[in-house]
């Protein structure tokens, strides 16, 4: 009810209609009812779509739509068509946990293939020379050393509080939250990566 004249307000356009329209033209969502995910020939991920538009896709790979904010949701399953050599999307898994354990494992393995990032847990030392930063770090893949050009575009934002460092070969080193590093490490890091 409107507070001013006591007349009922015009009903707002139901948000469902907008969502429904978007769903019609938007991405295809994959659910366990419509989709079977399994490991097939050459240990590749295969995806079988059931229903009127049934199809089998072999050699499928998985890509995260929101790698930082929602790494385990909205996973796009894609393939490269051998005829046009182009990448196509089969559909998006909104919530992986609703799939069977086996299917989840296949998708997670595929995600591991798609992303290779060392997560930095400690900054042991940083040295600046020749406009390069020489890092010595502890990562989830063990102790590593790498070189990075000292420029803005080489240390990109990773969410609100993190950073992705790109070394001279474009290898990726992620710090999900700089403030969660040990204080001395965080200070050392921010002495050079202050942006």
């Amino acid at each position: 009810m409107s507070a001013s004249d006591g007349k009922p307000e015009a009903a707002a356009t139901p948000s469902l209609s907008a969502a429904a329209i978007l769903r019609q033209v938007g991405v295809t969502y994959l659910t366990p009812d419509s989709t079977e995910i399994y490991k097939g020939t050459f240990s590749l991920m295969h995806v079988a779509i059931r229903g009127p538009e049934s199809n089998l896709f072999r050699g499928v790979f998985a890509v995260r739509a929101f790698p930082v904010s929602q790494p385990n949701r909205f996973i796009s399953l894609r393939y490269v068509d051998v005829l046009d050599n182009k990448e196509h999307e089969i559909g998006v898994i909104e919530d992986l946990s609703v799939f069977s354990t086996e299917a989840q494992k296949v998708v997670r393995d595929a995600l591991r293939k798609q992303y290779y990032e060392a997560e930095i847990t400690r900054i042991l030392a940083i040295r600046w020379q020749f406009n390069l930063l020489f890092f010595e770090v502890e990562t989830t893949l063990g102790r590593q050393e790498f070189m990075m050009r000292w420029s803005y575009d080489r240390a990109q934002s990773f969410g609100d509080d993190g950073k992705v460092l790109l070394d001279v070969f474009e290898n990726r080193y992620v710090i999900p939250d700089v403030s969660k590093l040990p204080q001395a490490d965080s200070e050392t890091f921010q002495r050079y990566i202050y942006w």
Binding site: L44, M147, N171, R172
Partner: protein, 760 residues
């Protein structure tokens, strides 16, 4: 046909196969001598760091872990592989074999190995096609790393900043300043004179206290005469003090003016040299170096040479000499007292080291946080209509508050640190003085060889001693910064233009306009060709259309005809002559280019039209504009052809800018005209006018048009359809429609879209 294994000479560093891998090969039934290619990857397929060797024989590809474990499942017979390829993922990549239509992973590698595996891929494809292969090619040294120390180079094949001798950089810097060497020497001499003048006031103070103002040193009978004498001496010493102070200030003025003249002249010269050199580079260089980076080099790094002159005139060098000179004076005056001065020096050095390491970097952060506030405000105010339209005022306020909070935190940290640090350092400095007061005072009282004047001179010298010492602790930072900046300047000056004209390059006076591409292959990254074996022949005066999806390679073809890049295979010929044998300036003089985004300069409209022909007469400019349907809107401007345009042609609409660019091309009267989506970014009304202008422009010229709207190409003599870097179809509009291939589908889609738009 069995491929020939060819050994190549050159800069290579082939890693031999480990014994464990050789043993495993034998177990797998492979004779090691049959191995023709190999490379080691640094990841296993699941992404765990591990050495895995990709080993290739004439008929098999195997992936064997370095520890000699069994070969992975993904080993293939080459004849079953229809293609090898590299699939890049986030942070790593896979070497894949296409088997039975499936992309099967052979090996995984981090981006550090990408260059080597790209070369392996090239060799694998050669092997698959029965051509000769060489493992040397796989192991050729990277152009991106220093061969000696492995340090990444600022640019491919650029000098290594580590291996180049720093002394050599200094010598080179001095050579660069040769023209100004006399002035630099004069500045240095004046600086030495300045130091000598700095030494005078404390020395005169000593005379004043010990000899002129001394109390009770004269017999009473002589008091009157002595007083008069001492008054004269007082006047003399004070005049000397005035003279020394005045001379020092005059000298400062001369040094400042001279160093400013010399410094700015040097940076002017260096910027000109850098600009001339950068202009000679190929488009490829600009692709690899962001514009901001080049701006920094041409403008910012050149400034380092100004700072060098400033340092000679009054910076670190002055401070080094000053510390030495004052030290000598102090020790020669009284070595015992001088040795007390040294006591606080470790604290001074420690304090300043802490400052440069801990506090100074926070100023970068402060500057960054300040620029974030500016850029946020700029973005919000520039897009204020959008903010209001979407009612996002609160969100933008929160964003702004977050930024100013970050700025506040950083600013507070810096100010608190400085407020704490400065008094501590002041205390340390005063400590030296207090020690001298105490120790020197005792010596004066006990009359042990130190007079009051000496003590006061000591204290005066002392105040001049710690300051320079403090600044010297940062000298290594400045020095490495200067050397890095000068090295970057030399990098540019030493980089040869990527596409120099051949010494015997021939002039190209007249062109009929025939163009021939003969089996052209090209990739911006040589390992990933975007144009693959393309051939086409265009006769003089023909109009050719090029169509294809985004990223299919249409614009790259244009870049090759203009010779913005050199091709890797095949040849591009104009009038039967390879473009690499022609002078680039001549070649481009005969090619007119109208781009999708017309680029206009900050200059008058007339100057923009006459950009390619600065000698054009006003009549020619008017005629070109009239023919390009630009004349009327130009005449509506209050200042007509003299209207000054802003950056990138600001002040004109998209269609107007395009018509000015057509007039510019028309004025050059090129034999070959290239239209790269010339009408795709303008409205329909402007497009019609531009089409009319283009019709005039194309008359009697060889024209190549890339067009998004296929209807504009109906009249073309021939249309080439490019797909994935290859010519997929070609023929006239009618012929292509009859083929019912890609072109037919594209036309149908556009016709359908147009029909839908009409209905709407």
């Amino acid at each position: 046909m069995s491929p020939e294994i060819k050994a190549e000479s050159g800069s290579v560093n082939v890693q031999p196969l480990p014994d464990t891998v050789r043993s495993r090969l034998v177990q797998e039934g492979v004779r090691p001598e049959n191995v023709c290619l190999w490379a080691e990857s640094d990841l296993d397929l699941s992404g765990v760091p591990a050495w895995v060797w990709v080993v290739v024989t004439r008929d098999r590809v195997l992936a064997i872990p370095a520890n000699g474990e069994q070969a992975t499942d993904n080993s293939f017979e080459i004849q079953k592989v229809s293609r090898f390829k590299i699939r890049s993922t986030i942070g790593s990549a896979f070497l894949q074999a296409l088997v039975e239509g499936l992309p099967v992973d052979v090996a995984r590698f981090s981006n550090a190995r990408r260059e080597r595996f790209s070369r392996l891929l090239e060799q694998l494809e050669r092997l698959r096609q029965g051509e000769s292969v060489s493992v040397d090619r796989v192991y050729e040294n990277s152009e991106l790393l220093c061969e000696k120390c492995g340090l990444p180079l600022p640019a491919p094949k650029a000098p290594c900043p580590r291996c180049i001798k720093q002394g050599a950089v200094f010598v080179r810097t001095l050579k660069m300043l040769r023209r100004y060497l006399v002035w630099v020497v004069i500045l240095f001499a004046l600086m030495l004179l300045g130091i000598a003048l700095d030494m005078m006031p404390p020395f005169l103070t000593k005379i004043l206290v010990d000899d002129v103002l001394k109390v009770g040193a004269q017999p009473v009978a002589d008091v009157q005469g002595a007083l008069a004498d001492r008054k004269q001496e007082l006047l003399l010493v004070v005049l000397c003090l005035v003279g020394a102070t005045l001379a020092r200030n005059v000298l400062n003025m001369i040094i400042g003016r001279m160093s400013s003249t010399v410094g700015t002249s040097i940076t002017f010269d260096i910027r000109c040299k850098l600009f001339d050199r950068v202009q000679q580079f190929s488009i490829d260089y600009y692709d690899r170096h962001p514009v901001g980076n080049l701006l920094q080099r041409v403008h910012g790094d050149a400034e380092a040479f100004h700072s060098f002159v400033n340092q000679v005139a009054g910076g670190y060098l002055l401070n080094v000499l000053r510390v030495i000179a004052i030290g000598i004076v102090l020790f020669s005056m009284n070595w015992r007292l001088a040795s007390f001065i040294l006591l606080p020096i470790p604290l001074v050095i420690l304090g300043t080291a802490i400052y440069w390491k801990r506090i100074y970097p926070r100023y970068y952060k402060l500057s960054d946080s300040s620029s974030k506030v500016y850029s946020t405000l700029n973005a919000i105010f520039s897009g204020i209509r959008l903010v209001k339209a979407f009612s996002q005022e609160k969100k933008e306020r929160d964003r702004f508050v977050k930024n100013i909070d970050y700025y506040r935190g950083t600013h507070m940290w810096v100010q608190k640190s400085v407020s704490t640090f400065s008094p501590i350092m002041a205390f340390i400095f005063s400590l030296g003085g207090l020690i001298v007061w105490y120790a020197g005072g005792q010596l004066v009282l006990e009359n042990r060889g130190v007079t009051l004047g000496t003590l006061m001179a000591f204290l005066a010298y002392l105040s001049m001693f710690y300051g320079p010492l403090q600044s010297l602790t940062d000298m290594s930072n400045w020095l490495s910064g200067f050397l890095a900046a000068s090295q970057r300047v030399f990098d540019i000056l030493d980089t040869p233009p990527a596409m120099e004209d051949q010494p015997d390059a021939k002039p190209l006076d007249r062109v009929t306009g025939s163009i021939e591409l003969d089996r052209v292959t090209f990739g911006y990254d040589p390992y990933n060709p975007v144009i693959k074996d393309v051939s086409m022949r265009i006769d003089p005066g023909q109009m050719i259309g090029i169509v294809g999806k985004s990223g299919s390679g249409k614009s790259t073809l244009i870049n090759l005809i203009c010779r913005f890049y050199d091709i890797q295979k095949g040849s591009v010929r104009i009038d039967g002559r390879d473009v690499r044998e022609l002078r680039r300036q001549d070649l481009r003089r005969h090619i007119g280019l109208v781009l999708q985004e017309p680029f206009l300069f900050r200059a008058s409209i007339a100057e923009n039209i006459a950009y390619g022909r600065p000698d054009a007469t006003p009549q020619e400019i008017l005629d070109a504009a009239k023919a390009a349907y630009a004349h009327d809107f130009i005449m509506r401007q209050p200042l007509g052809y003299d209207t000054q345009l802003g950056e990138r042609g600001a002040g004109l609409s998209g269609g107007e800018r395009q018509r000015v660019s057509i007039a510019r091309a028309l004025l050059c009267n090129p034999a070959i005209l290239i239209l790269d989506e010339a009408t795709s970014s303008v409205d329909t009304e402007s497009e019609q006018e531009i089409q009319r202008a283009l019709a005039v422009l194309c008359r009697g010229r060889t024209t190549i048009a890339i067009a998004h709207r296929l209807s504009t190409l109906k009249g073309a003599d021939r249309i080439y359809v490019i797909d994935d870097g290859r010519v997929a179809e070609f023929g006239s509009h009618g012929e292509l429609m009859d083929q019912k291939g890609i072109y037919y589908k594209l036309v149908k889609i556009q016709t359908e879209l147009a029909r839908l738009e009409d209905k709407v």
